[in-house]
Structures are given as C-alpha cells and as structure tokens.
Symmetry: C2
Subunit: 117 residues, 2 copies
C-alpha cells in the first residue's frame, strides 16, 4: 500500500503525537451526542428555563407552547445524556439541570453568540 503524498507542512510523527493527546474516539462520539442534544431550539429553551428554576413537565409545556409530547421527548433526550435529572414530587415529575458543567456549557455558548453585536 502506498502512503498518500504529504504536503511540506505535514509532520507524521507530530500528527501521531497530537492524535494521541486528543480525546478517545469513544468520548468524541459521546460529545457528539451531547452537542446533538443541545442543537434543538426546544431542548435549548428547556435548559435555559431549568437553569432558572426546576420545573415539571406541564410548566415547561406552558412556557414553551409546544405539545406535551414534544416536551417529554425532549426531556428524555436530555435525561439520557445526563444533562437534566428527575425527581418525583407527588403526581409531578420535576426536572432540573444535572450539574455545573451543563450550566457552563450553555452559558459559554450564549456568551459566544452574544458577542457578535
């Protein structure tokens, strides 16, 4: 098998070294899944509401003006990636932001987009 031609900037050893220091393939895939979850307007709105106050499904439904089904599906996605967590409270299911990483994540992104005028 022939090696592909390399341009003069390419240093195979250095690239090998950089690849070793990069996250494992498995974690890249997990991160993809997390960002994938954060890529929906509905799910982002849910997170920015939960960031202020934990809420049950019907509160979110009221606030977001989408169907209960859509909220529930969205919450499941967030839950499966441990971006939000759940607590039962009588007949209500109360959702809240899982941890500070999640807050920082969405806040960094907000700052990034707010920066552009």
């Amino acid at each position: 098998m022939f090696m592909k031609e390399k341009c003069e900037r390419v240093n195979p050893e250095q690239i090998e070294n950089l690849l070793q220091k990069a996250p494992a393939a498995e974690n890249i895939t997990r991160m993809s899944a997390v960002f994938q979850a954060l890529q929906s307007n509905t799910r982002l709105k849910i997170l920015f509401l939960l960031r202020q106050k934990e809420m049950c499904v019907c509160e979110l439904e009221q606030a977001l003006e989408v169907t209960q089904s859509a909220v529930s599906h969205g919450l499941r996605t967030l839950r499966q990636l441990d971006l939000v967590r759940v607590r039962r409270e009588g007949k209500f299911t109360v959702y809240y932001i899982a941890d500070e990483h999640v807050r920082t994540l969405i806040e960094m992104c907000l700052e990034h987009v707010e920066e552009k005028t």
Copy 2:
C-alpha cells in the same frame, strides 16, 4: 379563545418572568447552530486538534483520514459560526480556534462525558 387548563404548579406570571429572563429567540437559534456544528464527529475532531496547534487543511486531512473535501466542508461550517478562524500563509490556509469560549465549550463537554466512568 379558551385558555388551556393549567396544572396547580403552573404560575403564569412566574412563567412570564422566567421567559423574559431567558435568551432572546434569535440567540437561541444562533446557539442551536453552534451546537449543531459541534455535533459532528469530524468537526469535533478538527477542534480538538486545533486546540493543540493551528493547522492547515492538509495536516487535518492527514490526521483525520477523511477526504480533503470533507475537511474543507467541515471547516467552512466552523468558520461561518466563528468557532475557528483562518490565516493565509503562502500557499497554505492555516486554521485556529477562534477564542477561549470555544475552548471552554469543548472542554466542559469533554469533562462531562469523561465523568461517566
């Protein structure tokens, strides 16, 4: 028009207040686009390489083992959202991470997924 029935936890005034403190619809949409860009394995790998060292397209091509076209398309997406920036250097086009927000963003996500054993 009838108001939808509300569950006892719903406080319309409070919800109104929470909505006002949430990011504007425009910024939610921008964030969606950013997270959407971060949701691809290829683009994530690009960012985690650029995080270590600025690189030209052919270096990335070598490192990622995808076609030059895929790298270039990926870089365009990242560039359009100001996640990476470009500098011409002779015949090479050198890409680098745009700013600290972007570093923090991907590092928070990595920490989040690394936490789960």
